[in-house]
């Protein structure tokens, strides 16, 4: 068991290192000059060189890469304007644009993204899985057909479209809510939830649809298994057969998928964040790319990769606990 976990963690670190190299490489592979973006309209050669030097972009690429990774592990010292500043590990550098530490920038964005995603995740899992299980158990009935139809609509509707419908109805027409904005949960939990309801609903509708369809098909497949017939043959009540024996087997692959999805979503839900004007890390990463703001791009990509790798590892370990047939060796 321990060996398995150590092995998985090592693989995870290796994956992160590879992503580190690739992101850095891709950033410089495109013909672009962050200094030119920073340098205002009447930009001359001397000024451009100064900006480049200030950003540390005049050094050889390899040195820049080594400096960046040193900072990640040990921290690093920077000159911001005239004063020197120590950026403790894990240092992701300073934003080209605002001259603040990238960790601080991400520290602002992460709670927003996490709030949106965790809340929506819980909602879409509850709604999606119960809808899927219900329609599997009532296969062919009117309720099943409604559920399938609804989930088809949800699965084929882009999140930005549904989000705009929500905004149009609840904010602009009915005026149930003000335009959503983020309030920290530590500040006021009620306002926190109120501000997040619409993004939650938007993500839930789209995601729950997929999960309803997936858990329905998993449940139907399980219900036709021989061991379900056995469970009925020994005289177990229908409820036990469905809710224990069938659900136990049907839910396993759904949980696997959910773990992976959660990892991906925690890395940023750029479209949802942008529509609802919430500056989570998804929004930050998109803006950083437009600004050619390398340190922030590196930061958001690495953090997204971190979530994906961690959720993958967790799912693998979890799977071994859920399914006794999986051997950890």
């Amino acid at each position: 068991m321990l060996r398995f976990i150590i092995k998985r963690v090592l693989v995870a670190l290796l994956t992160l290192a590879a992503i580190d190299v690739i992101t850095f490489g891709v950033f410089f592979a495109v013909p672009s000059s962050p200094a030119a973006v920073m340098c205002s309209k009447n930009c001359d050669e001397a000024r451009l060189a100064r900006v480049n030097a200030a950003l540390g972009l005049d050094k050889p690429k390899l040195d820049q890469f080594i400096d960046f990774n040193k900072g990640l592990v040990f921290g690093r010292d920077f000159k911001v304007g005239d004063k020197a500043d120590h950026c403790p590990a894990p240092c992701l550098g300073y934003s080209f644009r605002t001259s603040e530490a990238v960790t601080k920038v991400l520290g602002r964005g992460l709670p927003i993204t996490v709030s949106i995603v965790i809340g929506a995740f819980i909602l879409w899992m509850i709604v999606g899985v119960s809808l899927g299980v219900y329609s599997a158990l009532h296969r062919g009935t009117f309720a099943d057909k409604i559920a399938i139809g609804l989930s088809l609509v949800g699965a084929s509707m882009p999140v930005y479209f549904f989000a705009l419908i929500l905004l149009g109805i609840f904010v602009f027409s009915l005026k149930f809510f003000e335009f959503p904005h983020f309030v920290s949960i530590t500040e006021n939990p009620l306002l926190w939830a109120k501000g997040l309801i619409l993004p939650w609903l938007a993500l839930t509708f789209v995601q729950a649809a997929g999960y309803a369809r997936y858990s329905r098909s998993q449940m139907l497949e399980t219900l036709s298994e021989d061991y379900i017939r056995t469970a009925r043959a020994i005289g177990l009540p229908k409820r036990t057969v469905h809710m224990k024996h069938a659900l136990r087997a049907a839910i396993t692959p759904v949980i696997t998928l959910a773990g992976l999805d959660l990892g991906v979503f925690l890395g940023g839900v750029a479209i949802t964040e942008t529509i609802f004007g919430m500056h989570g890390i998804g929004w930050q990463s998109v803006n950083a790319v437009f600004d050619l703001n390398l340190p922030v791009v590196m930061g958001t990509v690495l953090i997204a990769a971190f979530f994906v790798v961690v959720s993958n590892t967790v799912v693998d370990v979890l799977y071994a606990f859920i399914d006794p047939r999986v051997k950890l060796s």
Binding site: E225, D226, Y227, R229, T230, A231, R232, A233, I234, G235, L236, P237, K238, T240, H245, R248, A249, T252, I322, D323, P324, R325
Partner: protein
């Protein structure tokens, strides 16, 4: 408790299970499937009835209907299934459920897929026990389950109790299935091809085990199989089914040694025998089992029957009745005259396959 002893005491000569003119139909998009079409038989405690037939002959549907495991939404059942004097067909679902696993138990073909992969063997047996003994304590249920594992010949039952199905071999799994089926002392055990997925040597062990357990528990057994070899080892009586109907019904000697239905002959001729002449070819039954939606007219076997009488009829026109022949208890549904059937068996069939 309370639920366990509701059944009326049955006299030893009164069969525990009586099936009268059972008809099972499924509605499908392609038409009505006549899976079982007028089948009658009975099994007494301590006796074994073998039901033989190809896939699609209605043998498995018959057993699932007795258990009440059919899909009630699309299945139409007429006739009677009397279990200990009570008619299962007209019973409420909840009452049939209490019968299942308690008075009637079932074991299935593939023990790996029939056991839940996520639950330990012991837990699954405990579940089977506790559902019909709700007042039993955990320790009692565990003790009873280990006893049963021991009884069906699983070594180190204490330790094996905590194994998962995938950690058992095929034969051990089927033993565990049998332990699970017998944990509540059922009066009727239905075994649906219990040895088909097993090695031949393990097959023999499992059949021996079933024989022993039957003596010990005095249960009635229905053995469903397509393998006449299995039947000859375990059955007292045999029901040969074809296209949802009974082709022939008799004691195991009558079916194995003086069969009178061309379909039974076909089954006998297609199985090699250790004692026979190795140079004589086996004779497989030509053609395929019929569709149960469009059952052939008259005798359902007539398109495949080498002895059919047609132009004019009766084999393709009239459905033959299941009629008694000279020996008591032997019934055959065939239009051929009895003398002719006897001659054919003597001259042509008894030379081939296991029939000798």
């Amino acid at each position: 408790m309370g639920t366990a002893e509701v059944t009326k005491p049955t006299g030893s000569d009164e069969p525990y299970l009586k099936v009268n003119d059972l008809r099972v139909r499924f509605e499908t998009e392609d038409g009505v499937v006549k899976a079982v079409d007028g089948v009658s038989f009975s099994v007494a405690r301590g006796r074994t009835l073998g039901i033989v037939g190809e896939s699609g002959s209605g043998k498995s549907v018959t057993s699932l209907t007795i258990m009440g495991l059919h899909n009630p939404g699309r299945t139409k059942i007429t006739g009677e299934i009397l279990v200990g004097g009570r008619n299962v067909v007209s019973m409420r679902d909840e009452d049939v459920r209490k019968l299942r696993g308690n008075d009637i138990a079932m074991i299935f073909q593939d023990p790996l897929s029939s056991l839940h992969p996520f639950y330990k063997i012991g837990k699954q047996i405990v579940d089977a026990y506790k559902v019909h003994h709700p007042s039993a304590s955990k320790a009692e249920a565990r003790k009873r389950s280990i006893e049963m594992l021991d009884r069906v010949g699983i070594p180190e039952p204490q330790r094996r109790f905590d194994n998962y199905p995938h950690e058992f071999s095929g034969g051990m799994r089927q033993r565990a299935m049998i332990a699970m089926a017998l944990v509540n002392d059922p009066k009727l055990l239905i075994a649906d091809e219990p040895t088909t997925a097993l090695d031949v040597t393990v097959q023999a062990q499992i059949l021996d085990l079933l024989n022993d357990l039957q003596k010990e528990f005095n249960s009635a057994i229905i053995m469903i199989t397509h393998d006449l070899g299995v039947i000859s080892q375990i059955a007292d009586e045999v029901l040969v089914m074809y296209a949802g109907r009974v082709a022939e019904h008799g004691s195991v000697e009558q079916i194995m040694k003086m069969a009178q239905h061309p379909y039974t002959w076909g089954l006998l001729e297609s199985i090699p025998s250790l004692h026979g002449d190795p140079t004589v070819d086996l004779r497989p039954i030509k053609g395929n089992p019929p569709s149960l939606i469009h059952v052939p007219s008259g005798c359902a076997f007539h398109p495949r029957c080498p002895y059919r009488m047609m132009n004019p009829g009766p084999c393709d026109i009239d459905v033959p009745e299941l009629l008694p022949v000279r020996e008591a208890g032997h019934k055959v549904s065939c239009h051929l005259p009895e003398e002719r059937r006897r001659n054919i068996y003597r001259d042509e069939v008894s030379e081939v396959g296991v029939a000798q």
